[in-house]
């Protein structure tokens, strides 16, 4: 690590003004992405602004047909929350698949989506459920939020405060792990809410999380794995590395989408 100044603001306003004042400052949430990069000296922010003392940006609440999760809510608190388990069991399940217990007890939803790792799980849930990302400045639709690998619509000094998920009728997440990192080699989130059907894919794309319109169309006719039988997506635009070829990833998208739909309809 390089030396840095550690700030612990008590309010969002203070946090935002620290960010405005120190251009190179970084927000610190669970630290499970940021700190490893700092330890490797791949990042060296001179200022760290810790979000953990700020009230009101952690926790889960349901109101009507939507579920709101505070940015500082730890993965473990999402996965074990009875409210989440009841409202969107697929989301609770997804949070429980992230990393290992140490990661889940520290890592946060806000940190995960702000980071937008192309292999992270939460981006698939946000896109696959049509979530809205709420910041200290505005509301951003998931469809507009994830703009490419490790990049988002967030502006400098913008802080995610919560994420609002519409509660679907049916949803499921299938994750095929990268054996080494345990991130998603490919993860597919499917949901059905009224006539809106979403299929979101993480891990596979060379440019981060994406939706699969052809699968969504097919599932509109009938929300069943059979509707996706034999369907696949082109290997073009898929990631290819030592963990799997573009063809393999494209193939897995089809397999996991079918499995996710089967799980969503309880088969």
């Amino acid at each position: 690590m390089y030396a840095f100044t550690f700030h612990r603001p008590q309010t969002l306003r203070q946090a935002a003004s620290l960010l405005a004042k120190h251009e190179e400052a970084k927000l610190l949430a669970g630290g499970h992405t940021l700190l490893p990069t700092m330890k490797l000296r791949l990042a060296g922010p001179p200022q760290l602004v810790d979000l953990s003392l700020i009230d009101g940006i952690a926790g889960v609440a349901q109101s009507g047909r939507s579920l709101t999760i505070g940015a500082m809510t730890r993965h473990n608190d999402v996965s074990t929350s009875p409210v989440v388990q009841q409202a969107i069991p697929a989301l609770a399940g997804l949070a429980g698949m992230i990393g290992d217990p140490a990661v889940r007890h520290m890592g946060t939803i806000g940190g995960s989506i702000a980071n937008n790792d192309p292999n992270a799980d939460y981006p698939a849930a946000c896109l696959g459920l049509g979530a809205t990302i709420i910041t200290n400045k505005r509301r951003i639709k998931a469809d507009d939020f994830f703009t490419g690998m490790f990049s988002t619509a967030l502006e400098p000094a913008e802080i995610i405060t919560k994420v609002s998920f519409p509660i679907p009728k049916k949803a499921a997440y299938q994750k095929f792990r990268n054996q080494a990192s345990r991130f998603a080699l490919v993860g597919v989130f499917v949901s059905k809410r009224g006539s809106e059907i979403r299929v979101a894919v993480t891990g596979a794309g060379a440019n981060g999380v994406f939706r699969v319109p052809s699968f969504e169309e097919a599932l509109k006719k009938r929300f069943a794995p059979k509707s996706l039988e034999g369907m696949t997506i082109p290997a073009d635009g898929m990631n290819s590395d030592i963990h799997g070829s573009a063809e393999y990833r494209a193939h897995l998208v089809g397999v996991l989408a079918r499995r996710a739909v089967a799980e969503a309809i309880g088969k």
Binding site: Q179, A180, S181, I242, H243, G244, S245, Y248
Partner: protein, 788 residues
């Protein structure tokens, strides 16, 4: 036998301190005035070092020195060496290139240390390291061993044209050729034994300390063999005379071979401590360990097996290219030769064997012994050939093996080894029962109904352990003898210290060596402590690797205990006023034969020291004896492992659903510890087969440079294992033990790959059989998977 003696599954004495964080590892040790070292490593696989400008760094806060290879050479610090001479077929010695502890003139792999910064704190050393300007002239690099000898490949060392270290063979090529000519069937395979990164949980570390007053050096080091480290650093590196260098290996958290070797960093820590007049500490980071610890395996092999009409093996031949990396590590030359080709007979009666090995340099991290060392590679060749041979000839793999088993002992193989004992049929039979081989077809059908492909694979491995008879290894080129020493010090109160030249880094010697004493002297293991890992305490020893501590180290202990008993009998005779010949020792008591006169162990120990009853000169006070034991032969643990997998054809994921291991380790000193060793070995073997594999790109960059990309096996890769033993005593050592430390890692890869290939119906599958690799193999597979 006492209740804590040989055969008792007593708990490990050392675990309390390991589990409660009260052990003392090298990183836990801090010396007064200590400074920290940080290595600047080459980011290039192959590059001329044109200049090193340390001016800016030297002026940074806290910096004591920036040291380079040129200064190392100026101080006449010698090169690291490979201690096992292998000659090429043409009689020429292996081409050992200079290996300075800091690269001088050119860097030969990514991670090659180029300079070191010594500073008051580690952070200061790191900060300064970033300011050291190294100007590199990047050279073309080669990482692929199969291409290293080709015309036009970049040349790494002047001494080794075509990057060839040696061209070596074992066996009679003409006799093998004749046998192949008469064969009914020949099975041919191209195999890659994938490169592994050891990843012991404790990274390597060293503290060098120079005492200017006494002119002595002390090295605290994560080493498996402190005496060998001292010998090499004294006699070859020339740091200090042997008696002025003390090497201490405190608690060491895993080695698996990777901590046998003498590495640059410990040499530099010692040298730098003298240069700056302060103790110098270095602790590797995990990412550094990937680039600085010797890797394992990395063979490219073509192998063929010839069968007659009855399925009897007539001959085996193999051609292997072994990648030794950028420099020859301490024992690297022996691994693909005398630890590999000599095991190519497996458990089978094979009349003729011929093996050619070319060892090559590449611009990669040096490769040396890693758990199993050569023997996993040999087992993979033999057991893949057997399995594929059976499939090609339409025979049951079990029948084929049984037909070819060696059944009488001693058995001289055509490749040096003389097997002393074993019962391969017995372990196979027991394993088949435990694994319910008969029920496999039914289980396969069940899997098919669930859309899964099920496969079964065998590995009837053999290993040569108890390394090793000094005369034998000497004749094969080893620079040292591989005997072991033990000293037994009995205290006046009857408690015992055992000093052994072996070194424990997870094996449990503090328990098992105490069990041997307990068994012999009838005292509880709590009254025995085991001292190891300090050259000032233990006179000499060869360390721990090659499953040698039981077979060799405990044999030395048994020999020392013989002497202790003999001396104690003399003391007891005085004490009991009886003739020495009338004293019997049993269950911790000395009796005068035919009388009820007796003396307890404690009385005899006390009297040995107070010596009040000793008259005149004939008996020396004290009770302390030492012994050196040189084994007569290797030991030959062997067994049968059976792996059952279910492959998901949609994802290519292989799940191991059952594992049976029946091993013959000879006499078992502690069954619980042995079972743990088997579990750990299997885990490493499964890791090699399913997920581990170091990958270099064509420029010599390590793509699997961290645990995010290099997959170590996890608990959920492994099924519950059914582990059992059969016992044939080792005839060549006093306790009858053979060794168990490497068996799992030797047996497992072949068992897994035999099972996965059985499931997917194609042999074209390289390790690691990752989901992506298995899926790709399934896409290439010409035919539908075999039905049950």
């Amino acid at each position: 036998m006492s209740i804590t003696g040989i055969g008792a599954a007593v708990r490990r004495k050392e675990d309390h301190r390991f589990i409660t964080g009260t052990g003392h590892y090298t990183a836990d040790i801090n010396r007064p005035g200590q400074a920290f070292g940080y290595f600047i490593r080459s980011p290039h696989a192959h590059a001329a070092i044109k200049s090193i400008d340390a001016k800016m760094a030297a002026g940074m806060p806290g910096v004591l020195a920036v040291l380079t290879g040129a200064q190392l050479a100026a101080d006449k610090i010698g090169n690291l060496i490979c201690g096992w001479m292998v000659h090429s077929d043409d009689g020429s010695p292996m081409k050992m290139a200079p290996h300075p502890a800091l690269a001088n003139g050119k860097a030969c792999h990514v991670g090659d240390p180029v300079a070191v910064v010594i500073a008051e704190t580690l952070a200061q050393a790191r900060d300064a390291a970033e300011k050291v300007q190294v100007e590199y002239g990047v050279l073309p690099a080669i990482a692929d061993p199969a291409a290293a000898q080709k015309q036009g490949a970049p040349q790494i060392h002047e001494v080794a044209p075509h990057n060839t270290i040696y061209k070596w063979h074992l066996g009679d090529a003409n006799a093998v050729e004749a046998a192949f000519k008469s064969a009914k069937h020949v099975t041919k395979l191209d195999l890659v034994n994938n490169r592994l990164v050891p990843n012991a949980i404790e990274p390597r570390a060293a503290i060098g300390e120079y005492d200017a007053g006494a002119g002595t050096f002390t090295l605290w080091n994560t080493t498996q063999n402190p005496h060998v480290a001292r010998l090499v650093i004294a006699a070859f590196v020339g740091m200090a005379p042997e008696h002025k260098l003390r090497v201490i290996a405190p608690d060491v958290g895993g080695g698996f071979g990777s901590k046998i070797f003498i590495y640059p960093e410990e040499v530099v820590a010692l040298w730098a401590s003298k240069r700056v007049g302060r103790p110098v500490k270095w602790v590797a980071e995990r990412s550094e360990a990937f680039l600085a610890d010797a890797h394992g395996r990395d063979h490219v092999t073509h192998a063929e097996m010839a069968f007659d009409a009855e399925g009897k093996v007539l001959a085996l031949r193999a051609k292997t290219i072994a990648n030794l990396g950028a420099y020859m590590s301490t024992f690297s030359s022996s691994v693909p030769t005398y630890l590999y080709a000599t095991l190519l007979s497996g458990q089978y009666q094979i009349p003729q064997i011929y093996c050619e090995v070319d060892a090559v340099y590449t611009n990669t991290v040096p490769v040396d012994a890693y758990r199993g060392a050569g023997r996993p590679e040999a087992t993979f060749v033999v057991e893949r050939l057997m399995e594929v041979g059976a499939r090609e000839m339409g025979q049951d793999p079990v029948d084929l093996r049984q037909r070819n088993f060696i059944k009488s002992f001693p058995h001289q193989t055509p490749v040096i080894m003389n097997y002393d004992s074993g019962d391969y049929g017995a372990s196979l039979k027991k394993a088949l029962e435990i694994a319910d081989y008969k029920g496999f077809a039914k289980r396969k059908r069940e899997s098919e109904r669930n859309g899964k492909l099920r496969g079964i694979g065998f590995s009837n491995y053999i290993e040569a352990c108890g390394i090793a008879p000094s005369q034998a290894v000497g004749s094969l080129g080893c620079g040292v003898g591989l005997w072991e020493s033990a000293e037994v010090r009995v205290n006046p109160t009857g408690s015992v210290e055992v000093l052994t030249g072996c070194h424990a880094h997870g094996q449990g010697h503090e328990t098992t060596f105490a069990q041997v004493v307990s068994d012999r002297l009838g005292i509880p293991i709590e009254n025995v402590s085991v001292v190891h890992g300090d050259t000032d305490k233990v006179q000499f020893g060869m360390g721990t690797y090659g499953s040698r501590s039981g077979a060799v180290g405990m044999s030395a202990l048994a020999k020392a205990l013989d002497k202790v008993e003999a001396k104690a009998k003399k003391v007891a005779a005085h004490l009991l006023e009886a003739a020495e010949g009338d004293i019997e020792f049993k269950d911790g008591k000395f009796n005068v034969a035919g009388t009820d006169k007796s003396a307890a162990w404690g009385d005899v120990a006390l009297n040995a020291y107070i010596a009040h009853k000793f008259s005149g000169q004939e008996l020396e006070p004290g009770l302390k004896e030492g012994a050196f034991y040189d084994p007569k032969n290797f030991t030959f643990p062997a067994g049968c492992h059976i792996c059952e997998v279910e492959v998901d054809p949609d994802t290519g994921n292989s799940e191991i659903v059952a594992w049976t291991a029946v091993d013959d380790f000879g006499v078992v000193v502690n069954p619980m510890i042995v079972e743990g060793q088997v579990h750990g070995g299997i885990a490493q073997g499964v890791g090699q087969a399913l997920c581990e594999g170091a990958v270099y790109d064509k420029d010599g960059q390590l793509l699997t440079g961290s645990l995010m990309d290099y997959c170590m096996p996890r608990a959920d890769h492994l099924p519950p294992m059914k582990v059992d033993t059969t016992v044939t005593r080792c005839p060549s050592n006093p306790l009858g033990v053979k060794g168990c430390g490497e068996a799992g890692a030797i047996a497992a890869p072949a068992a897994v790959i035999n099972a996965v290939t059985d499931a997917i119906g194609t042999e074209q599958l390289a390790m690691p059989a990752t989901p992506a690799a298995v899926w790709a193999a399934l896409q290439r597979a010409p035919k539908a998977p075999r039905a049950a």
